[in-house]
Subunit: 232 residues, 6 copies
């Protein structure tokens, strides 16, 4: 079942997923969302509606995905058991909803298992508790409205979360800029490209700090003239 989107009424929990190397994940976290997103060819950025509940967190981890019916958080309880230390839970309702699927009790449970954070295209509550316990969440909504536990979904199947495709085991990178998804198979090469990008940016930053202009560093003047820009 892994590898295809859930449909036709089947509800599954895939228990054994592949994860990226811990060092690679750590490296991607340090690079941050903007760099990683550029490094992988501007692919995998979730919608800008995904905002952190508090600022300053920067994490990466392996996606444990949850396809969940709208206004029903039952499957999140199921997903907790599938999480390993360092994982990030990715929750995607099958229909848009701002209900508060997640609060401090679930966070306590996830934190106890070493889960690094939560990405949810829906609502979250108990913001004050989550901030105090420093459990980072990127959500499309803050809303206290509760959910029910009536309908099944699936765990560790491909999902679309906030406009981005996520497969179980993909590396999630999240910080104040938002959330980016790195496909598992690309994690190593993306990290390399991100490091190369960082090295190059460090050089550029030094030159900009010394007063050089981007116009000159990037050799833009000629092309601007060709395109017809007039200085007056």
């Amino acid at each position: 079942m892994a590898g295809t989107y859930p449909n036709l009424g089947e509800h599954v929990v895939v228990q054994d997923i592949e994860r990226a190397d811990a060092a690679v994940i750590k490296g991607l976290a340090e690079c941050g969302v903007a760099t990683v997103h550029e490094a992988q060819g501007r692919f995998g950025l979730l919608s800008e509606k995904m905002r952190p509940i508090y600022s300053g967190a920067r994490i990466a981890g392996s996606a444990v995905t949850v396809s969940i019916p709208p206004c029903d958080n039952w499957m999140i309880h199921v997903a907790v058991e599938q999480c390993k230390p360092g994982d990030i839970l990715v929750v995607a309702p099958t229909s848009p909803s701002n209900a508060g699927y997640f609060g401090d009790l679930l966070a306590t449970s996830l934190k106890g298992r070493g889960v690094a954070g939560l990405i949810i295209d829906g609502g979250v509550r108990d913001i004050r508790d989550l901030t105090e316990m420093q459990f980072p969440v990127w959500a499309s909504s803050i809303f206290a409205q509760g959910t029910v536990k009536e309908t099944l979904g699936s765990v560790n199947v491909p999902v679309v979360c906030a406009g981005g495709p996520v497969n179980p085991g993909d590396v999630i990178v999240a910080d104040d800029d938002g959330v980016c998804v790195v496909p598992l198979a690309d994690a190593v090469s993306v990290l390399e490209k991100a490091h190369a990008r960082e090295a190059k940016e460090a050089q550029t930053r030094a030159r900009l700090t010394s007063g050089e202009l981007g116009l000159d560093i990037y050799n833009m003047r000629e092309r601007l003239k060709e395109k017809g820009l007039k200085y007056i």
Copy 2:
């Protein structure tokens, strides 16, 4: 007039409203929005567009309600006089508007009277001053655009604010999760239910912290199986 929505062109100020017991109000504040909302059967939550202007505040108080024409803040000045220490002003424009109805001068006046905070389905300004003086506001908008003082409204009549019905004297609970309205008549029983809920959650939290799974604590495995969830 109290007890019915204002209409047909009558504009009134109801000067004598009933309030909940101060200890009950204090208890509800300590429980917070998410718990109180669950405790009263998921009733009374205002729209998620109501956000605090700074994080960390958690208050409760008796609602002094203001039905106000759009882009006109005259009646807020009228309402100030009706406020008693610990009250919360609840301002509901009769037509949606993001105008900046409220700023630091009105806050100075309210704070001087011991008012606990403001709930407004509209705009607020002087954010920096309000934050410095620690006068908490939950608003649907931050906008410096001023308002006029031309048209009457009513004070202490039933209003709908951000989607929720509010009667004068209802207990307002507000924190980082949003705003919840507890009907005056239900305040005592809701507090009891909220305390019961907190006690139960404390137990659950302890079990979750010790590593138990919600799946087991809530006895979910059987029902999941019956519904057809497959582990693979």
Copy 3:
């Protein structure tokens, strides 16, 4: 070309713009957005969608304007060279877009030139870096999605940014309440009016603090009665 909106395919960089007096600019910054906006007759406020990336900054400066194609940040690089110490860059895409036009490298370059901040009706990224270096930005979006460098725009021409007309050299005032534009020719008189307003508000604040009601300070009771307000 200065003085007219860019159109008909001409792309220009106006290199020599007039700026307001530094002391006037400083004075407007101290008054803040809400006061300045009221002082100039409620003109020039940008849309409430313009939010600061971190709270607490309050700046003013001369506008260096950039008319930019959607999803293309080439002209920002061109504009950097036109900025002088104390200026504020005002970036207006010609079509709405939330792309991340601006990040830490451009901020490094602008900060090195003494630029006070950025106003952009579009997206910004590298929020954590910008916050650490305390380079204030008011933007309509936070989004890591990159842009291209393919199409020309213009620098220092009149633009409409977030609903407000901005001419090069206009004074931009920005704080937690949003962004306000003071036309260059009005800067001195607006500052005078703002100071007068502040003086009057200080008196009012003192009276409110001492417990007087706005109803009495503003002599509202008579007019409320005439309009038909009933106390019950």
Copy 4:
């Protein structure tokens, strides 16, 4: 139970509600939303997000209200039985949701009972079928996403629908301008006021058609001059 909002977990169906006189309802339908809304002092207009699924319908009827959990349409089936000819079903989810609660089968059932139309602060589907059968719906969303039938709500209790308070038996007026709620107790007097307004508007319309200006008909010139308007 009727007369209070549903909460604390009680779920009821109130079977016997009072309705306005059929002639009054018919009269209000003929006046239309804008006139009725003005006639009752600009009270009772639902949010502008409530749009008709096809244009041209103008109806009025007695509200049969449904308080419904988000993403769950079970209680609509319960409500059908409570509807009488000429009624209008008013569906208010307790939490915002755009799910498709209603389609052609429910419309068939309602139409068979003589129900005049549906007002729903949520989604509707089978638009083509509903249009063909000319069953008018005002909804906040068009969305094919289905709902579940798991959780109770209440029928014929007070609800807030799209920002407006609705009591069972209130008269709903709906046309291309939106939806307006007339409290049952006010229906007769509002109709009188609406008729008076229509008569006056007919006179004004005749004068405007003959070329007179509103400036003169409404005697505005003097007051404009007093306020300081300058013609140049």
Copy 5:
């Protein structure tokens, strides 16, 4: 006063504005929004939130501009007198508001004077009547909520309407695609460019109809290959 934005509390009615030639206006109407917008270098398009209240209308006319306080339609009555046959009224509230500023009585008055239509960054009501009398309106909202007549604005001053700068006498072009503003001084040259564009598009359309591909007509294949597009 004409030529500057209204501010500092002055309120004026400019009675004598320049208008474009009737034949030029008619020509621009026939070209339509998309063509005119391209022909003038992609300048002057209003926000996409401006939608026609019924489809199929395509008009052009000289702008009579109205700067209006939020939720107050007094100045529209003043503006009617300034309109000449063929004009288009352009109404821009100084603060965003969806109130229903305009209905069938004002339309009757404008239609009687030969006004071609209305552009309003706000709400409109009496949709059914306006459709029946075929008075076209492009508005950001349909909402029955009424407005007051208390505060002055200005007529025939520069405004920003729905994100676009409009000067009195500018040519407004509006159809199902939206609304475009042609600066008065550019009207003749834009019409020429629009006609040239139409001629060229007619040729392209003929070739496309005959089965030729845009890839070949526009000679794209070479450049695509250079950029690295791979066919597999």
Copy 6:
């Protein structure tokens, strides 16, 4: 390359895609979006922001997918060549944008090749022409703003369009309710399930028409009682 999302800077055109059987596609079109979506387990519905530019069209066809940079429509020209009679073009910008990527010239070209319609998570223009030529489009925006032709994308690779995953060759079903995606491999079985659903609904419709209640047809009374619903 087919089968993975485009990233890492590779841009490809996959020329040979598998398509569903024409009879199956025709059958799915006749069932319509709501039925098909239910039949495949409520999977594959695109966001409700996808609205038809005119009402009444109901189509199905094989997806030719286009991954396109924001505000750049170059790849649509490339995609035209890959379309076969009966196909539906599915255009997904890699970053959200409301630009007008598509107008009557591209429609002329597509219609000439027998393409059934367009699905685009972006803007479309020339609405009047498209309506006249009856070329159906489901778009998230109507906007005349043009795009550039500077940056590559890919054709016939997996995309996420308006929140839904689409693979080349998937069957797209679109009508007034929105847009649904049927995975190619499931098309036959989904059609069967849709037909079964239609047969069952026909029976239910007959019973409802005869006056039976859903409460009885679906045997709901018992379960409602068990859950605690009280009739009063």
